[in-house]
Symmetry: C2
Subunit: 335 residues, 2 copies
């Protein structure tokens, strides 16, 4: 009899999230299904920075993640048993099934994956939420034009590394900001024109470098905090700032905001804009993105890197690793 | 022989601007004109918050205002002598002629005013830069919709009091934030639905009131600082923030930014936007605004209040009074 493994979200972190906020549980797998339900077994489970936002005590785009429930997450799974006409045993699917080894879900809540198009785990990356965020965030809110200087914070992450490449394809001069020389070197191999390791550059140095390069037309921000202070002080007229994430603030700053310089007056001088985006607003437009991105994956002109962590038991540790900058590209737990 | 009076901008303020940053000069008026030039005598001279931005040591939308020059300003004048075919003695005109009693300018730099349409000093207010800022800032960047809650900071100022009324005409529920009970009472007579005297309400109280009223769809911000902190924490999904001014920051905060809470994460949750605007970007679209606004002035459904200060010698004092909240509506020096 198979074992049903689960990670239960138990206590709300006030600073760094870690294993201490979770409880591991297991039970004998119940494979009973109702009409149209599907039993799936997870193969790849996602850890994403947004999970930490949902752990804040304050409401975000929805109510905080409930305590004593399985941690919500996207996963790529295989079908074990199906009572839904669209699925059969062995099919690859993606769904928001959480941190558990198995899930019983209505077939309508799953999307079937075609392993011949791209590796199935890309449904958690370039062909899933991170890709959607990068594509629509940059193209819709960022409005990149050829010749623009595009600055990307968190540039070596799942979203950031795609934004850099989409920006290059749009003809932008791309500046990628990341947290290690290894990440910066990888970004260079992707064609990023200039990289900045923020751990080796002061805010003032970043500001000076950006201004020497002619200022910033588009800023795609995953990070917030002091990096954004440097970039906001360097905006050009009619610059567009896309706020996709504020990861520097997640471990405590959402409940009790950090302080930083008041810089909104720069927007006035520059008639610049800041736009917050969420991937969920663009879910219905995924076919548009696939039209662009699938050919680039096929001809290998778009690189998508995953960092794999092996083992279901590693999920809480992997999540906390996101905030330590452990990943290059998308962090995925392989189970 | 007439006397040509001038206020010369002499030293850069680092905090509050006042008379000590100016020098009064006078000379015998030179009425020599070249071809197409016009000699005008100022009747109404403007003091505006943006002047303090230009006094910051840092570049804003242009280089800082030069030292040892006549303070730049818009004025409404009468033509004394004209070598330009479009003007004759006695005509009312507006132009950017600065803090001086007389000016010799090329006729193309003036706009003729029709005193039968509206009082000529409205060229410094509802029919000039403040009106343009209010109209295009609200309608273009704010995108107000019927039923929206519109919050206006600096609501009793030249721009703010127009934004409140444009918002009411657009069907918004308007919340005006101002700095005295007298201002709040005046706003109520304009039809503003809810007023808040920020000197009697804490930031937390303002936040609570806004949230109890269902949150904020459009925020037209003239002020920045702690008032904005309260409003930014109360935005609704897809809210639009229009940054027209940050007057709370002008006396020092532009050179050495004040600190405040990092709140950009709210934009992410709410997919909200912040847009900086400057009136100059909409100058070519003034006819659109006149089409809307002139009938409202004619039928008296739009109120525009001017606070007059009498005397050319009062100009520096009047400017510093803007930052003390001396004015209800537009502050104008009558000379």
């Amino acid at each position: 009899m198979a074992i049903h493994q689960k990670w239960i979200y138990k206590t709300r972190p006030t600073a760094q999230v870690g294993a201490e906020h979770y409880a591991y549980e297991e039970s004998v797998l119940d494979d009973t299904l109702s009409a149209n339900e599907v039993l799936v077994e997870a193969r790849f489970i996602s850890v994403d920075p947004y999970m930490r936002i949902q752990q804040s005590a304050k409401a975000n785009w929805e109510a905080p993640h409930p305590i004593n429930q399985i941690q919500g997450a996207a996963a790529v799974s295989q079908v074990l048993k199906s009572y839904h006409a669209a699925y059969q045993s062995g099919d690859w699917v993606s769904g928001y099934t959480g941190w558990q080894s198995h899930a019983r879900v209505h077939g309508n809540e799953l999307a079937k994956l075609d392993a011949t198009i791209a590796p199935v785990e890309t449904a958690l990356g370039v062909l899933g939420m991170p890709g959607r965020t990068a594509w629509f965030g940059l193209m819709e809110a960022g409005q990149p034009k050829a010749g623009d200087t595009l600055v990307v914070s968190g540039a070596a992450g799942a979203v950031g590394s795609l934004v850099c490449q989409f920006g290059i394809k749009a003809g932008c001069k791309v500046v990628g900001i990341a947290g290690s020389d290894e990440k910066c070197q990888w970004l260079t191999t992707l064609g990023v024109h200039k990289t900045l390791n923020y751990k080796q550059q002061s805010e003032q140095q970043i500001e000076t470098i950006l201004q020497e390069r002619g200022g910033v037309d588009v800023y795609f921000d995953n990070v917030g905090g002091q990096i954004s202070d440097a970039v906001l002080a360097s905006l050009n007229v009619r610059a567009r700032v896309v706020i996709c994430g504020q990861i520097s603030q997640y471990n405590g700053g959402l409940d009790t905001p950090q302080t930083g310089p008041r810089l909104l007056h720069h927007l006035l001088y520059k008639r610049a804009s800041i736009q917050g985006i969420l991937a969920r607003d663009f879910t219905h437009r995924m076919p548009e993105m696939f039209d662009k991105v699938l050919p680039w994956l096929a001809d290998e002109s778009l690189v998508f890197n995953s960092t794999f962590v092996e083992g279901f038991e590693q999920l809480p540790h992997a999540l906390s690793g996101l905030f330590a900058g452990d990943n290059i590209g998308k962090l995925i737990v392989k189970v």
